[in-house]
């Protein structure tokens, strides 16, 4: 490396300028400098980068020792070389100075800005995911075969939302160094130091206590207990298990299944078969959703030490995803048998259930990034669509009452 650097100064200069240009570009856009490797070519550069840095230092030393000696020489080639070396040195110093300046700008004072606080807390509580969780709980509430009570509905939604915020904040509190090392999660508030761990935990407690109290006292104790259990399951079981065993995916699926059950129990006050069916649908949906997502994150999971099926048991990962896509068809068919919906529901939901099963099959067979992405994105619209269809096919109260009267 060193000899190569000494022998081919002209080539090195050009390479240097290119590399420095790239380095400058990399450092001036904040996100790119966060990786352990330079972008855009993630595999090639880590080794090259080290070589270049080594060469940079070598050339710097040589430039400083060589230039005072060379000017007296009258040969044109030497003069040109000196000019090139000096210009390389100038460019290098400039690039280093600019690089240093932009690096300095990236240092932030760890002072809580009250203006930014709502945004920070929204990201800490994973507000979009929370909204999704609340909507599944609302769907559970709406599907329950009881007259709609607006107050109860609002209390349930708020209570579930607060519980979800608390659980998500604790999850981020536990995962700071792991989140720093994964592309998907490296911009979270605790990773960026926008909020202190103490404040994150305090926020979680401020959400959990009123949330669970609201559910227990304002709705019913069963819903409150389910909410508290779900927070515990997510923070104390799922989060640590992510790094211990692939069973974490099944635990996570249960975590996702509980909110609609909570919605149902909030409305009816009891854990009926209908609640378990809704929970079952959400449980099954988690697998194509998560397994497809995790397929593209295998490198990050492996480096971060996460035990995910996609890394350790790839065939099982795809098999389970397909299995649960097909289970959705089965569960949709059970819905009218439990009087949750009319028989229209299995029929109208068949197209979307078949489509996701088809994508699940493609993922199972092809096992590549494109099929995993298609399955993941399909799961994002499939669930809201399925719940909407379920709501429109809900068995009306009058029909159920008529049926039970007739049976008597």
């Amino acid at each position: 490396m060193h000899c190569f650097g000494v022998a081919n100064k002209r080539w090195i200069t050009f390479q240097h300028l290119n590399f420095l240009k790239r380095m400058y570009v990399t450092q001036s856009s904040k996100d790119l400098s966060q990786q352990a490797k330079l972008k855009p070519d993630p595999v090639a550069h880590p080794v090259l980068e080290k070589k270049h840095l080594g060469q940079e230092k070598t050339v710097t030393c040589e430039l400083r020792s060589v230039s005072p000696l060379h000017p007296p020489l009258s040969e044109t080639s030497h003069r040109n070389e000196v000019k090139e070396m000096k210009s390389a040195a100038v460019v290098e110093d400039l690039a280093t100075a600019v690089g240093a300046e932009s690096k300095e700008k990236q240092w932030k004072e760890m002072k809580l800005q009250l203006d930014d606080l709502p945004g920070i807390l929204a990201r800490l509580s994973k507000i979009k995911l929370t909204a999704l969780v609340v909507s599944t709980a609302s769907a559970g509430f709406a599907m329950a075969p009881v007259p709609f009570d607006l107050t109860c509905f609002l209390l349930t939604s708020i209570g579930t939302g607060l519980a979800s915020c608390a659980a998500n904040s604790i999850n981020q509190f536990f995962e700071v160094p792991f989140d720093s090392n994964m592309n998907r999660t490296k911009n979270r508030p605790l990773v960026r130091g926008q909020i202190s761990p103490l404040l994150a935990v305090s926020f979680a407690a401020t959400c959990a206590v009123p949330g669970i109290a609201l559910l227990t006292l304002g709705v019913n104790p069963l819903t409150g207990a389910l909410g508290a259990f779900n927070i515990f399951l997510y923070t104390c079981c799922y989060t640590p298990m992510k790094r211990m065993s692939i069973a974490n995916t099944w635990v996570g699926a249960v975590v996702g299944a509980i909110p609609p059950i909570m919605g149902w129990t909030a409305a009816t006050g009891s854990l009926d078969a209908g609640a378990l069916l809704l929970g079952g649908i959400l449980y099954s949906w988690q697998f194509p959703h998560f397994n497809a997502l995790s397929w593209g994150l295998r490198e990050d999971y492996s480096r971060g030490g996460y035990c995910m099926m996609s890394v350790t048991h790839p065939a099982m990962c795809r098999r389970v995803a397909l299995r649960h896509c097909l289970a959705l068809i089965g569960l949709s068919t059970v819905a009218p048998l439990l009087d949750v919906t009319t028989w229209n529901f299995p029929l109208v939901s068949l197209p979307i259930n078949l489509y996701i099963s088809y994508l699940g099959f493609r993922f199972y067979r092809d096992a590549d990034r494109s099929s995993s992405r298609k399955l993941f994105f399909c799961s994002l619209w499939h669930l809201p669509m399925l719940l909407l269809l379920m709501l429109t096919c809900k068995k009306s109260l009058l029909e159920s009452e008529d049926k039970s009267n007739h049976l008597r």
């Binding site: 352990a36 090639a44 240092w107 090392n181 103490l198």
Partner: protein, 195 residues
């Protein structure tokens, strides 16, 4: 404008030295006490917080560990509890930095070795005709990812336990410090009201 800005404390700059040293990857770092005025080794570590600030400062992610270094502020009247918290956080920061820098380094090395051995088995060169490094796709890399995870499982378990412990202790100490500060403020207010 008279004189210089008032001194409000110092910063623990040992963390900067720690981060620039960790550039090698494996990073044998000694926990250092407060150091001032030493020469920085890289552009990233040449940052010095302004004298008027009395907060910690957090930097860009480290190249090797992807963790963001923190320069801790040392207040003039640092209590023993505050000092305990700061030193514990410094120690945790160095420990975390060492682990992740070495983890990422060994992952990268392992990946390079795996790619080169696979390419050799295929009879291909590491660099193709256009001068670009040949890479394997995610499906081919899957064996390496699985292998890396299982090889490092015990190491990860130890790290997890230690990290959870340190995280709890840090947060608990932060809580104690915050509580004492509030208590002190209330105490001062009572005295003022009394007087």
């Amino acid at each position: 404008m008279a004189g210089a800005a008032p001194r409000v404390g110092r910063w623990w700059l040992g963390s900067r030295r720690g981060f620039s040293r960790a550039g090698g990857g494996a990073g044998r770092l000694a926990a250092e006490g407060p150091v001032r005025g030493h020469k920085p080794e890289s552009p990233a570590s040449s940052f010095c917080p302004p004298a008027c600030s009395c907060n910690d400062w957090i930097g860009p992610p480290d190249r090797h560990s992807n963790l963001r270094p923190i320069i801790f502020h040392i207040p003039k009247n640092e209590s023993p509890l505050e000092r305990k918290l700061r030193e514990f956080r410094q120690e945790t920061q160095i420990w975390n930095q060492q682990f992740w820098a070495s983890q990422n380094m060994s992952f990268r090395k392992g990946k390079e070795e795996f790619i080169s051995s696979r390419l050799k088995a295929k009879g291909l060169d590491m660099i193709d005709r256009t001068g670009q490094k040949v890479t394997l796709n995610a499906e081919e890399m899957a064996d390496f990812y699985k292998d890396f995870l299982s090889k490092n499982f015990k190491k990860h378990m130890c790290y997890n336990r230690e990290w959870y412990k340190r995280n709890f202790i840090t947060t608990f100490l932060m809580g104690q410090v915050a509580f004492k500060r509030v208590w002190k403020k209330l105490g001062w207010k009572k005295m003022k009201v009394g007087n």
